[in-house]
Amino acid sequence: MLSRLTLIPAACAAATLLASAGTMASSHREAPFITGMPKVDGTDFYMFNSYESGRDGYVTLIANYLPLQDAYGGPNYFSLDDDAIYEIHIDNDGNAQENITFRFQFNTERRDLAVDVGGTSVPVPLINIGAVTGQNNDAQNVLESFTVEMVTGDRRTGNVQNLTDAGSGDSSFAKPLDNIGTKSIGDYETYADNFIYDVTIPDCPMPGRVFAGQRQEGFVVNLGEVFDLVALNPLGARDSRRNIIADKNITSLALEVPADCLTGENTVIGGWTTASIRQATVINPAPQGSDTTGSSNAKGPAVKGGAFTQVSRLGSPLVNEVVIGLPDKDRFNSSEPKDDGQFATYVTNPSLPALVEILFGVPAPETPRNDLVTVFLTGVPGVTQLPSVTASEMLRLNTGIPATAAGGQNDLGVAGGDFAGFPNGRRPIDDVVDIALTAAEGFLCGADVNGEAAGGEIGSCGTQDMQVNGGAIVNDGALPNAADYLTRFPYLNTPLPGADNVATAE
């Protein structure tokens, strides 16, 4: 497998671009229906060989949810949905169906802290009434915890086993408070580190790690101008604009698993994340309150039941955002990779290059886009393609390709000569927007990742079997900065505080 990585430079770039060919940005609020359910809106999915020192042989999986969080969003901040399940699926045999699923479920406990007001105990309106540390949460009014189950086989009917704390054996893990501000949580990075758990994974000889909590948004995009009819200079400097979501937070479900516990007979795995909610909901017109209002025995604000029903899906970045047509976005979010044949037209005949031609007069590559089909739906030959594969959309990673140390990573991934990056999985630093834009405009047409050797053909664009538009690197002007990420698990940065009271506290 690795011997095939002796690629010609242009082909290297082509490989990277291919995987994102149908994409352009991440997956924040990308479909009409999911905009009404931000708690279960998957925004980004990362899957890469761990590059923290001493973690060779591990794979890190990060599923981000609840988009565009303003750090000051109190008093409730950004808890997840107790009635939903959040899942990370792994296909390790290429049949477009999950072999392993890690299922996160959250539980919120409300302490109903109260203060004495004129001799009457009155519940407070805040989620904390004093400073909170990793060792002392007495002042914390709302506590979130979660479990992680590993399902082997079908995600609903397969064998279910719990991940457990490697030390205590507990199957419930605490989730940190969001970064309310420096007066509530003085040193958030140290505080959050208390919530990284070593875990025992069923059927796996080595422990892994898990963390669920708020992080600084790691996705980089000039979002406003991209969606304002691509109102940018796509051939300008890659850092000519700004990352407009740099001031947002996100909620990450991060899991680190020994690679050998994810792979099948090959070193390549496919991964994607989904969120599902109960099919039926009844809104309660008189929900539960407290003894103050004489309603402590009532039911919650909604009664939910029925089967878990998928409402969010995310593998490779930006697919549902800029590849899938508006009428099919909700359907894509409810779909499974094994049924992706229904979306093939969006890949063979992508609308984005046609729109760019309308807006800028840049000729779109010819169709059908066999280049995009190859890497987008089957994996890059010799890099992320299994010997037998069912065409389907997911993020693919070759766990046999060593990670690149944090200081040496190239944000163009394979296109930049860094084979440990996108589209061989996806790391936080990978600039998937620039890669996707470039691919969409024909950089990969006719590419061959094996050079003169056989077996590396990516595919043509209609009758075009060489780069279209001069192989231009098309970009959004927003450039990732390595300093904005951690070099250790969970890799995404400490979330921005809702208030910085350092100066006023003196």
Binding site: Q279, A280, N284
Partner: protein, 81 residues
């Protein structure tokens, strides 16, 4: 709970029969199944489970009989249910 189970049974019977509210002049497979929306929701709540697949609804014609009935879901909202 007994009420919910009864609803479940009745709705299931409707689905299986496939003829409630249908037009007998049309081919049977084209006739949408008509189900009271309230009953359908209650049936789902009563059959909550982690191993089930969701119910396909594209071939169901929902009848909304409780649009003006604020008490339609009282039994599922009752604290002791």
């Amino acid at each position: 709970m007994r009420y919910l189970l009864a609803i479940t049974v009745s709705v299931s019977a409707l689905v299986l029969s496939g003829c409630f509210g249908s037009d007998n002049d049309r081919p049977r497979q084209q006739a949408p199944v008509a189900i009271n929306y309230t009953a359908f929701v209650k049936a789902q709540l009563a059959t909550t489970g982690d191993t089930r697949e969701p119910v396909a609804i594209n071939d169901i014609r929902f009848i909304f009989r409780d649009q003006t009935n604020p008490d339609a879901y009282n039994n599922v909202l009752a604290p002791d249910n």
